[in-house]
Subunit: 222 residues, 2 copies
DNA sequence: TTTGAAAGTGTATTTAGCACACGAAGTATC
DNA sequence: GATACTTCGTGTGCTAAATACACTTTCAAA
């Protein structure tokens, strides 16, 4: 069996929660509409799963120290049996008939610092709204959906939201991020009480600049 | 790469939380002490991961409808490189040098109803205390440990405890189960309030029999 | 009838969850 | 320099959940 790692890369642009997709290279001979997919690759011979996930990310961007978390193994024997999926496999895989198990990871990146690598192994990359994802290759729609559920869960349990924000952020930005990930409105005062109680962030001696209203205090992760 | 599923089977005997181990068959030619392992097997060609896990369980016991949950993929390239592990692989695997990725599942069985199958594919089976596990084959100690952490987590979130108890149980049994899994004392009155509020169990019109004290009310899952 | 052993139950206190509104601090415009 | 605009930052009361805590009841056995 082939084993791959697929990475659902989340980013936040202060307005929407995004997922990074790459356009799958197409066989020159076929002229189908290209498909998009979540970045992923086969696990190499001497590589752990975590290492494979890290490598895949680093082939897309030069960021280091990115938050990465394994969340589920997808092993349905037919997960790779779509028509386009098969054509793609026949062109780009040594053993196109081989079953592919994939280990899903999700990753949180600071969109502000994200620069796609010029010579990336794959095709063009796109950020798309997590709530408006087009039809993807393989079972990647399911993978993204499950990643989002796991992210929600972990956001509430471990308050990892700041991984998606710049080093310095305001509590309003953080709240908006929570609202978008959890897909519900939160009360400002209660949100602040809760976040400050968890002590995952710390106030800086610094204020927001260049805004046309009262500048907010900046925070960073503790 | 080979892909296997390993099943951490939990059982509860009213006193301790147990894990099912099987004694690995040993090559006739070698005379090492046998190793124990968690039940597991390679995933077959046309089988999903969940199906593989179910099959492994059914090769050990004839119980149906057993609670099963995927919890983690273990993919370190060296997870299978111990001396005894290698000997075992060379004897019983077609491709002993091939790397093995395993998907960890845990499973909750009613120990009272558990009967090991006579002609089980594997060696003898044992139940051992989860808090006193001997040294196991491969990375199975790590797998069991992680399974326990996940079980704790899910017990609190989803109140699945009764999966480990007979059809009819008392709240004291359930409480003891929680105390052992979570490894801490709970207050009786608060525990009852909480469990009854979650409405995952329902009171029967029936009482415990054959005990030498006030008989307790029986409950079953709702 | 007494003893032993677990069952079953209520209250008071503390803590977390939730709803809710207004003055303060900046920038831009006239 | 007054006004308008925008977001920031804050506190209180209410309700629900979490925790601590001890005595009476019910049965079987001796």
């Amino acid at each position: 069996m082939d084993v791959s790692v697929d990475c659902v890369v989340f980013g936040f642009d202060n307005d929407t929660l995004k997922v990074l997709l790459i356009e799958q290279k197409q066989p020159d001979t076929v002229h189908l509409k290209t498909q998009n997919a979540v970045p992923g690759d086969l696990v190499l011979d001497n590589e752990s799963l975590d290492e494979a996930a890290k490598r895949i990310l680093q082939e897309l961007t030069s960021l280091k120290g990115i938050y990465l978390k394994q969340f589920h193994a997808f092993g349905d024997p037919n997960r790779v049996r779509g028509l386009k999926d098969q054509q793609w496999l026949r062109t780009f895989r040594v053993n196109p008939e081989r079953r592919v198990l994939t280990i899903g990871y999700y990753s949180l990146v600071k969109l502000s610092e994200f620069k796609p690598k010029a010579a990336s192994f794959a095709g063009k990359t796109y950020w798309v709204d997590v709530y408006n994802i087009p039809s993807l290759a393989f079972d990647h729609n399911e993978i993204v959906h499950k990643a989002l559920l796991m992210l929600r869960h972990e956001l509430m349990a471990d308050h990892i939201g700041f991984e998606l924000l710049p080093e310095k952020f305001t509590l309003s930005q953080l709240q908006k991020l929570y609202e978008i990930i959890l897909d519900k409105k939160l009360d400002k005062r209660n949100f602040r009480k809760n976040i400050l109680r968890t002590e995952t962030v710390t106030a800086l001696e610094e204020k927001q600049q260049g805004v046309l209203h009262k500048p907010a205090q900046l925070f960073s992760k503790k």
